[in-house]
Structures are given as structure tokens and as C-alpha cells.
């Protein structure tokens, strides 16, 4: 459950970078650890984040957790459907459970590839 084509962070976010645009979300492992997600606080369109900034938060029946931006850029779209159906993150974290789309202000860097991220997950 760690797609090859995506990039990852140690804090369990993923990013799909295409040119100067990136789609981001949280990983399968993250949603599995959180359990049933009940609420997500999405970033707002127009907000700017540096890589590692807190861009939102997510709550499940077990815990509340921050979401950190895996890239530096400006939010150009958010997945508003999650507000009414946060379970989409549980069901399809890499697809319908995407969280936000960024226009990058600097090239994506410091991200892990799928093999590197797989090792982090194994250590847990």
C-alpha cells in the first residue's frame, strides 16, 4: 500500500508532484493508525505553506493529529468532499481521499521515495 509513483514524508503524508503542481494527502499507514476518521480541518485556498508547516488537522475515534505540508507552495484547491465524508481518507487515501493541491513556490525537495518510506513504516 505504498505506491511507487508517489513521494512521502516521515510524518506520513504523500505528495504527487507533476511540474509545479503537487497533490497531497496522508498515507495508507497513517489512516490505518488513526482508525476511523471523524473530522478533518482542511487548509484554505490561497494559504501558503513551507515544507513541514502544519497545514491542517485530522481527528479519529482514537486520536487527533496534525497534517504537515510535504511541499512548499500555495494551496490552489482542497478536497471539500472530505468535510462531509472524511471516511474517504480511510477508504481511498491515495485517490478520493486526497487533501489539497498546491502550486509549488519552490521545487519539491527532501521527500522520501516509496522504498525509503516503506522502511520507516516497517520500523513502527
Amino acid at each position: 500500500m505504498i505506491p511507487k509513483e508517489l513521494s512521502y514524508t516521515k510524518t506520513h503524508e504523500w505528495a504527487k508532484v507533476e511540474g509545479d503542481v503537487a497533490i497531497v494527502g496522508i498515507t495508507h499507514f497513517a489512516q490505518e493508525q488513526l482508525g476511523d476518521i471523524t473530522f478533518i480541518e482542511l487548509p484554505q485556498i490561497g494559504q501558503k505553506f513551507n515544507r513541514g508547516d502544519e497545514m491542517g488537522s485530522i481527528e479519529s475515534v482514537k486520536a487527533a493529529s496534525e497534517i504537515y505540508s510535504p511541499v512548499s507552495g500555495e494551496v490552489i484547491a482542497v478536497n471539500e468532499e472530505l468535510e462531509n465524508a472524511p471516511e474517504k481518507i480511510n477508504q481511498d487515501p491515495y485517490g478520493q481521499g486526497w487533501i489539497a493541491r498546491f502550486k509549488l513556490t519552490s521545487p519539491a525537495e527532501g521527500l522520501l521515495n516509496s522504498d525509503e518510506y516503506a522502511r520507516i513504516v516497517e520500523e513502527h
Partner: protein
Amino acid sequence: MKTIFAKSVPGRKGVWPEEPEGQITDFIPENLLRENLPALPEQSELDVVRHFTLLSRRNFGVDSNFYPLGSCTMKYNPKFMEDIANLSGFTDLHPLVPQLRGAGHYTQGALEVLYETEKLLCEITGMDAFTLQPLAGAHGELTGVMLMAAYHNYKGNKKTKIIVPDSAHGTNPASAAIAGYEVVSIESRDGIIDPQALKDALDDEVAGLMMTCPNTLGLFERHLREIVELVHSVDGLLYYDGANLNAILGKMRVGDVGFDVVHLNLHKTFGTPHGGGGPGSGPVGVNKKLEPFLPISRVVKLEDGQFFLDYDYPFSIGYIAPFYGNFGVILKAYAYILRLGREGLIRVSENAVLAANYLRKKLEDYLHIPYNRTCAHAMHEFVASAVKQAQKGVRALDIAKALLDKGHHAPTIYFPLIVKECLMIEPTETESKETLDQFVDDLIEILKIAEENPEAIQEAPVNTPVKRLDEVKAAREMILKEQDM
């Protein structure tokens, strides 16, 4: 089950209050009289008795069942404390009396209880002064952090951060943040604070460290001495979260170790009701460094033996609560401390630690016990992990639910966050060996069923008044009013 309001029948009466002599306006000014009667439920005495008796049977409490909820010390509330709190000399006392000019001599007994309780808590913790005003544990935490801030402001220290280990009590980061500090989390190693990680996080802007010792894994912080020295080296302050004081009562005085500020939970350590039976009480103790900043008012004893409330403390952080805290709770804790005495309080911690280690040992072949190689013994609570069971689809949540079917309260689950699938078990000192054995037998039986027939555990509970609740639906579609049901 319907609420008492839904059962109301217009015109039905259960009590016939005495008509007051004279006119109601003799007692209450006319402009304050209500125009309409309050919408109180109308029921006969028998219906009221049945309603509340049935309701109490659906309740789950330490008076009826074993309650091993870790991190929260849900201990038995001895009934003699209720007798003391019901003495008319206390119950008939109006809370404003000590603040009326010249009325102090009507309330000497109550003030003496407060004064003596402060002295006893100082003796137990090794601190120099206490305020009993905070109304709950988290309120005590916030008060404690505000005292730390007052100290740094007074000294002109520029402090912006508070360090909280990842094994600390869950409310610590929240209290520090609400008091305006940036929270810096440090990772523990082998379940306890790593002095190197503390060194790396430490600089001149650190206002202090908030510690729970033993921590939420039930492990004693073995590097305590070094930690105290490190934090004090930058003029930081050491905060002791008293949530787990039950483990060290009579064994270690936190003031002697070097802590500067401590909050206690009377509703945990000192046997006053906890949770729905509250309210709570979160007294805060300080050493000499922080004493000038304590909230007002403070109870003072004059040379002639009289007590009064003193408001004249120019460096005080001010008012944090109305009156003088939750007096009835403080009174119960005072009675508890006197009844148990020095020997009794020592036996509290000894038996609490013994009971926890007994369960830990008995369960180690069935559940994964993290850190048992680095820490041979736990303190008053311990953490077990259902990682093995989770591979078969039975998670900590399912095990906790299955325990309800056996008549036990569930342990704390999924906290602390640093242990996966964790169950945090705290038996407390008052449970008999028979009760502990029954719990172990029932838990082992659940774990065996989990291996052979996981579905049976995933459906639990089935014997409780309501079956397994849909927690996700409850969080997403909240219904907060009876009318909306």
C-alpha cells in the same frame, strides 16, 4: 430509557412543600419574582424512586465494579468521607461568610480545614506552600504554568518554550499552550526521558519542563536527578504533574527532589469522587521561589490561633476561582489523609504498585509488555500492547469492549500514543487479590477466544444495557438534545 422530563405528567405531585408564613414578597423583592413556574418534571414519589434506582443500575462505577482505568487513579471513595462532608457545620455554611466583614469567627472551622489541608499536602510533597483553589486537575496545571510565567516575568527572563516529554500526561501540552508557551516535545528512550534529548532541546528560552513521574507508561524516571539539574541550569522550572502521585506517596517527596511546582488531583490520589461523581480539585504546591505568586486569597493563621483570608499579596497572579476552591472535596481529602495517616498513605503506594506488578507479571505471557526488559518493574500502573492480537484483527478496542461483558471497566486504550494498541491498566490499592485474579482470568479467557474466534470479540459487548456503540457515527452526527432523537 426515558428521561424524568419525558415521564412527567402535568399536575402529578410527589412532594407538598410547606407554605411559607406571610407573603412571598416578605422574603423576595417583587421585581425578582418569577412570572412562570419552572418546567420541572411532575412525578409521584414512587415513580421518582424507581426512575433513579433504575438509572443507577445502568451506571458503571467503582462502587459496583473493578475499574482499572490507567492514568486516572479511579480509586474507591471511602464512605466515611461522605459522613464528614455532610456535617451540618459545613453544609450550612454559606461560602460568602468568610468574606463578610466581622463574620470570620463564624467560619473558623472551615478555614482551619483549609489551612491544615495545605500544611498536610506540603508535608506529603515537600513543597513550601499550597493553594487549594484550582477546581480540577487541568485548572491546577494552568495555574501552575501561570505561576511559572509570573516567576520568569518577575525576574525579567525571556522564556518562550516549555518542554513536555512524549510520555507525559496528555493535558500537559494543552496547559502550557493555553498559558502562551510554545510546546517542545521530546522523545523518550526505553520508555523514559532521555537526558541527551533533553540537552538537545534545552536553551535559555526554556521556561520549564512538565513531567509526570512515574510517567504514563507507569515507569519511574530514573534520570530524575540529572533532569532537575539540567532544567535548573537555564533557570527553568520543574513542573510535577501529580496524576501519578499514587505511586510514590510516602516514598518520594517531589519538593525534596527539586521540583518547583506541583499539582495534585485530590479526586485521584486522595480518594474523593472522580469523573461524574466529582467535582474535582487540583491543589498546586510551590517552593519558596514561587510562593509570592500564588493566587489570592490565601488562608493565614494569626498568632492567637485565628484564621482569616488574606488578599494582600502584591505579586500574586490574582484570582483563579470563586470562593476557595471546591471546599467539600477538600474537606473529604482532609478526612482521608487524617484517617489513613502516615502509615496508611505509605501503604497506599505500596499496595498500588504491588497490585499493578502482580497483574503485569500474570499477563506477560498473554499480552506484549513493552519496556519490560529495560524496566523490570512498573509502578502503580503498566502498559500492555495487543499488537499480537491485532494481527488477527482483534484490537485493543475490542479487548476493552469484551471486558465490559465480564463486568470490568475497560482500561485506558490508545494512550499513551507511543505504544501501539495499548491497554493502560491501573488496579489501585484497594482491590483484593480475588478481584485481581478474576480480572486476569477473564482477560486471559478473552485473549484465548480472540485467537480461536476473533469475530466473537469484535462484536462485544453483548451483555451491557446497550450493545457496541457506533463511535464513528457518534462523532460525525452528534445528537445533543433529547428532542432530536
